[in-house]
Structure formats: C-alpha cells, structure tokens
C-alpha cells in the first residue's frame, strides 16, 4: 500500500480498476465472493420463513396437503426441475469458460441459461393460468370444489407464495445474467477478472437450490 495515490491498479486485458481500498485484485475477488455468500445466507433465511410456514401447515393439515397437491401437474414440475438443473450446469460452465478466457463459449452458456430461465417461467405461466381458471387460488379467493379436506386454500396460498417468490428471483436472475452477458460480449472479463460472472453464478445456483426443495415438497407429497 505504499504506492502513490495516482496509481490505478487496472487488471490487464480488462477495463476493471481494482478499488484503492483493496490491497490487491485477489483481495477484491476474495472479499466479493465472501460478500456474495453472506447475501445467500439472507436468501436462505428469506425463503426459510416460507419453509417454516409450510412445515407448520403441512403438520397441521396433512390430509389437505395430500389431496390438494394432486391438483398440481407433476410432469410440468419435473420438467421445470430438469430445465433449472440444466441451467445451473450451463451457468457453471459459463463461469468455467470465463476462467479459461473463452469469451465466446462463456457467452453461449449464458444465453442458454437465459433460455432455460425463460422456459421455466413459461411453464410456470401455464401452471398459474390453469390454477386461476380452476379457482385454485389463495385461501381468501379459493373457489375450487373438488377437495374435501379442510382449508385447501392454505395449500394453494403456500404454493403461490413459494413459487411466486422463487419466480421473482428467477426474473431478477435473468436480469443480472443479461447484464453479465452484455459485459461478456463487450470483452469486460477474462481469466484474470471474472468476478461478476462468478457472483452471478452463485446467485443462480441458489435459485436452483430453492427449487430442488420446492419440487418434492409441493409436487411430490407421497
């Protein structure tokens, strides 16, 4: 830290200037990644509240959950699971290719990730439309007649809250991935500096992680 103040630490091959309060480029990368893991902790706790509500209501109304979940489309749910897992693969590869300085492949992987995300949202749209049509809505608006167990609206409230919050995070993820894609194509990243891609990857894997739990809990109640 004994350089004079005018020295700008630019990472070679990019336009990125290492902020002066960091001792080195690695320090910046290390701190940024740590910061992202801290943020993921907050996401776990945010969704955690919904998982807590799920545990409580499933414990209180097991028959309701069993009967109500039959109205969900397992095939579409499984399809969405596969799509999201695949998008996690492509996102991880996008980071990997950025590390290898392969800008073209990294961008391609990002595009495929985006398409997968879009597919996910389209499938969700189909599912939601079906629910609205059938009156399978939140408890206060619930109109469907076919479930005999008590308080079926609670299950669908949970369904919409959990998949809804997840869907919002998919949208946010798509926005961030688009931004990273644009920067990748502009040549902002290389093997020495790819932090935004790495951090985006971490975020996207979290989105996948949440769905790994949502799918069996909502769609596969045995």
């Amino acid at each position: 830290m004994s350089e004079d103040h005018n020295h700008e630490a630019v990472i070679p091959g990019t336009h990125h200037v290492v902020p002066h309060h960091f001792a080195s480029a690695f320090a910046e990368f290390d701190a940024s990644k740590f910061g992202m893991w801290l943020f993921l902790v907050t996401e776990i706790l945010l969704f955690g509240g919904l998982f807590c509500a799920y545990s409580i209501f499933r414990g209180l109304y097991p028959e309701t959950f069993h009967e109500a979940h039959l109205e969900l489309n397992k095939t579409l749910g499984a399809l969405n699971t596969v799509v999201l897992l695949f998008s996690s693969l492509t996102m991880a590869l996008a980071v990997n290719f950025a590390q290898r300085n392969d800008r073209k492949k990294s961008a391609l992987m990002l595009v495929i990730t985006l398409l997968c995300a879009l597919t996910f949202l389209c499938v969700k749209y189909v599912e939601y439309s079906h629910k609205f049509h059938e009156g399978l809505l939140t408890a206060g608006f619930y109109k469907f007649e076919g479930i005999k167990a008590q308080n079926p609206g609670l299950f669908f409230s949970l369904y919409f809250m959990m998949t809804g919050l997840h869907g919002i995070h998919v949208l946010i993820g798509m926005t961030i991935i688009t931004w990273v894609l644009i920067r990748t194509r502009k040549g902002d990243f290389n093997s020495k500096y790819f932090t935004p891609v790495e951090l985006t990857g971490l975020y996207w894997h979290l989105v996948d992680l949440i769905w790994i739990f949502l799918f069996p809990l909502l769609y596969l109640i045995g």
Binding site: W37, I44, G48, C52, V82, G201, L220
Partner: protein
C-alpha cells in the same frame, strides 16, 4: 485469519474440468428421477424423509461442485452452513409451540346447554339447591369481572368501562327480578363487557340469577310486567325462545362499524326559555337525551349512543334524587358509581335550583 500475502503473485483460480460438471448434472437428473419414482409408492411417513434426503444430496452436489464450495475456504463454508443452522432453530422452536398445544377440555362443571330443567315458571322460584349451583357457576364464570364477593371488582374490572355490576348496591340495568336477570344473562348488556351467556343451560342461568340476588336483601321479585315480558303468564309452561348468537362474520362487521353518538332530535327542547333548560342543554343533553328521554331510546331505535351505561328515560320515574334539592345536589355533584358520569361540580346555588326544578319538570312530563 491473517491476510494473504499476494501483492505480486497471481492467485490461481481453481478451474474444474468441464466433464466434472457434466457428471454432476447427470447425477442430479438421476436423483430427480429417483425422487419422482419414490413418490409414486406409499411409504407412509418415510416418503417425506426419502424425498428430503434426496433433495439434500442434490443440493450438496450443486453447492459443493457447481458453487465450488468443496474447494473454497472454510470461511465461506461456515457462513453458508450457519444459515441452515439458524433456519433449523426457527422451524424447531416454532414447531415446539404449534404442535404441542394442549387442547382445552370443556370445564367439568354441571353446566351444558339443553340439559336440566327448562320450565321457567319453576326455575324462577329460588331454592337452596339452585343457589348453591349458582354459586358454583359464578366462581368459574363470573368472578374475574364481578369479583369473588360480587363487588364488581374482579381483576378484569380494572380495564372495563363501565365497571361490572356491584351486586351489593341493589342497582340493576335491566331489572333485578329473577326473570330480568335471566334475560340479561341470555342477551348480555349492550355497550358493556357483559357478554351473552346463552351457552349455559336455562337452569344454570336461573341458578346464577338466584345466587347474585343473595348479595343484597332488597332485590325485587318478579312483577306481572316482568312475567309478561318473559312470556310467562300464570302456570302455563313457558315457551322458551332462545336467540341464536349472531354469526362471527356479522359480529366482525358490526365491530367495524363506527359508533354513532346521536340521540333522537325529533322533538324540541321543552320550555327552552326556562333557566334550567340552558343548563340541561349544556351539561345533560348529550347523555340524557332531549327532554330526558335517555340514551336507551336511541338504543331501541338501533343507534349506538356512546354512553355507558345507557341512561334511562326520566318520564314517570320516582327516585330519591328527584325528591329533594339536597338529595339532587348530593347525587348529581358526585361520580355515579358504575357509570361514566363524573359529577357536575361548578354550579352556583341558583343554578342548582334551576336544574333541579327543570329535571323534576321533565320527570313529570306526559
């Protein structure tokens, strides 16, 4: 955690082979298929256990390999794991409440609806057995407001306005004869904390009525008007007309409606030029109504005047406080127990005379 010495070196970022990612993906797909498959069979409680185990394995694959946590430093590992630790605490302790509540057993006293004697003509006559039974029920259902000795000073009374009935005063809002008290127990006392106790059987309500009458020696018997009002005449077996409580939704709607403070103003102030009329208008009108008709009239017309308790009409009443001016002053200048009347304190001697005479006039009207 000391700082890494890296000023000059490049840190080698770990670059995993692409094939590893693909293998992990394949594993994830297989596990997904497995979880779908197992959900098609009924393993009882094990279904959710198996599903969660598979989900945890899948998450580990994503976290350790896609997110590279396996190859990352301890700080990130501890950080991420701690999130789940706190989440588990949240779910566990919340469950320790939601799943471990005792179901409240109904109180094991003799009271329950539709049991026991229902002939009101019989029940309205006090018997030692009824009084003992009434005392038993009173000690469970009533003491929290009315106090163990019936002075209206139970623990909950601190927060009630108006205060609960003090049975020793011999004052009653709707009348102190057995059928009248039975009626109060049946429908409650509007504008107060006294609820309707029609969940108790008819016999239980009469038992309570007889018990609370024992606190004061001078409580009235049933008059012919009382019997008429109760639908009991002579020895005919009484037809019990029970009102069902209103549905919860309706009660909630009624609670949300704002109170109205209007007293009927259909008529004009009597003898408005009388000196007492001005004082009446300033100090008495809002609660006692035009010409002393009382807030009860407003209540009967479906309004909800915010006067607790309801002021009765003065027409035709004979009461000590209207018999002499000194009585009038002593009653009206003090807080009236059991009501929100705080007393009138700032009148001159002449003014007291005026309002006394005016009030007498109102009571003798019609």
């Amino acid at each position: 955690m000391s700082e890494k010495h890296d000023h000059e070196h490049e840190h080698d970022h770990l670059i995993l082979p692409v094939s590893l990612y693909v293998k992990v993906f394949v594993g994830l797909i297989i596990l997904t298929g497995l979880t779908v498959l197992t959900s098609m069979f009924d393993f009882g409680i094990m279904n959710i256990v198996i599903a969660m185990i598979i989900a945890i394995i899948k998450s580990c694959l994503v976290v350790f390999f896609f997110m590279q946590l396996k190859f990352d430093d301890l700080g990130n590992k501890v950080t991420f794991a701690s999130a789940f630790a706190f989440l588990v605490i949240f779910i566990l302790l919340t469950s320790s409440d939601l799943f471990f509540r005792k179901h409240v057993e109904p109180l094991k006293i003799e009271a329950s609806a539709n049991q026991g004697e229902t002939d009101q003509n019989k029940l309205r006559i006090a018997t030692p057995e009824l009084i003992v039974k009434g005392k038993q029920i009173f000690q469970v259902q009533c003491v929290s407001c009315h106090g163990a000795e019936g002075y209206g000073d139970g623990p909950a009374a601190a927060a009630l306005n108006p205060k609960p009935r003090n049975y020793h005063t011999g004052q009653w809002r709707f009348g102190g004869s057995p059928t009248r008290i039975f009626h109060t127990l049946t429908v409650g006392s509007p504008g107060t904390g006294m609820a309707a106790y029609n969940n108790l059987s008819i016999e239980d309500r009469y038992a309570l009525a007889h018990y609370v009458r024992t606190f004061n020696d001078h409580n009235p018997p049933d008059t012919p008007e009382d019997l008429k009002a109760a639908g009991l005449t002579g020895d005919k077996k009484a037809v019990v007309v029970e009102e069902k409580p209103i549905p919860i939704e309706m009660a909630m709607e009624k609670i949300e409606q704002p109170d109205e403070v209007t007293i009927p103003r259909g008529e004009k102030l009597m003898h408005p030029e009388a000196p007492g009329a001005k004082i009446y208008e300033q100090k008495c009108l809002n609660c006692h109504g035009l010409n002393g008709v009382g807030a009860q009239v407003a209540l009967n017309e479906g309004q909800s005047p915010r006067v607790n308790p309801m002021t009765k009409g003065w027409q035709g009443i004979k009461a000590d406080w209207l018999n002499s001016q000194s009585n009038f002053i002593s009653v009206v200048s003090n807080h009236f127990p059991g009501s929100s009347f705080a007393g009138v304190a700032d009148l001159t001697k002449d003014e007291w005379s005026q309002i006394y005479n005016y009030s007498r006039e109102l009571s003798q009207a019609r």
